[in-house]
Symmetry: C2
Subunit: 201 residues, 2 copies
Amino acid sequence: MASGRKLTFDKHQALEAAMYVFWKKGYGGASLAELTHRMGINKPSLYATFGNKEALFVQATDYYAEVIGAKHNAFLTQKDTPLSMRLKLFLTSIIKGQCDKNNPKGCYISLCAAETESEDIPQAAQQKILEVSELTYKALVTLFKEDVEAQHYKLDTQAQHHACFLMATIHGTAAMARAGKSQKALMPVVDHAIEGLGLAL
Amino acid sequence: MASGRKLTFDKHQALEAAMYVFWKKGYGGASLAELTHRMGINKPSLYATFGNKEALFVQATDYYAEVIGAKHNAFLTQKDTPLSMRLKLFLTSIIKGQCDKNNPKGCYISLCAAETESEDIPQAAQQKILEVSELTYKALVTLFKEDVEAQHYKLDTQAQHHACFLMATIHGTAAMARAGKSQKALMPVVDHAIEGLGLAL
DNA sequence: GGTCAAATTTACCGATCGGTACATAATTAA
DNA sequence: TTAATTATGTACCGATCGGTAAATTTGACC
């Protein structure tokens, strides 16, 4: 049985708060002062519960992938929906999230992946970011290879190329959303991207 | 006449070195220690010559726009070249630069623009980044509106949409290059993007 | 050669960085 | 009630952050 004083905060709630801080500031830009403030706890509690900044980042990144990323990817396999419409819903959902004024602008993964090249991010954090950034790519490759409609349009032959193109589109709108572009301004990108695949709407 | 001791370093050379540091680390991630080390000078010399970190960043960003950015944009107006080919040369040149192993991976502007949302970047630096990031966008809008071939393909009617789509493509490949994707892996994006505009190769 | 102006080096400033030692408060088991 | 266990608040650690004061070189002009 566990004895001793109980936690005075909700662990998931604190992790979510940490996720929003990393989403806004990246790994290096997120200070322990801001993290503890937004999480509503102090440093010793953070270290006792989550380990250290690096371990907290890994857990926050997993949380992001499970809660935010998976929500968008679900559109790719929505039943009774044409492929072009599934892709449109998928891209629109992503852009909406990137421009939502209730969230930090842009994409958590895209932002933190940029810190890879800076070399001032710990190994485990870097590996987790690369791992999570592959999830959507792999989902797209699988879609283009195995979806019957995709096969009909011959998108299965160069599935990696098509997935790479859509990933570039997603990362691109993320960068522009972070720089201040509105959802309305970015929506035309969706139709162009789908046309770039050779699919009509 | 200016009297007194002469500078022991080349001002342009030092500015170029600073540009590469910001390109690799962003504004917040670039420390004065690394800047002075790579520039080959010490802090008082930096402050006497360039002002402070913020002023140095503004000058380095202008330098990037003039030297790197302008080089890519030149392909857009190359004489005796079909529009689709000019766009292909333009995009290829950009991706090559983003993946060049002699440079920091990705795009200087795209990286530093991401720091805008972080709020830990001074006003003047933020404004300069936004200003420079509009240069390519405006060049593309002008191209689609005024180029006779673009008009023939009816690209002048929604020039902003098409320019926005290409900007997203550029920022997207920048993010992926920074995360480690090779030039070879990103090249398929070029053809998809041009097809997204409704142009054949 | 002497004088003044400008650039260099060295050393330091207060603030903040990630991380922790320590004492205190709260909870359960005995 | 007491002992053992766990969480909390405070106060601190060495390192690094951007920025600067002061003393020392170097050079151009008279």
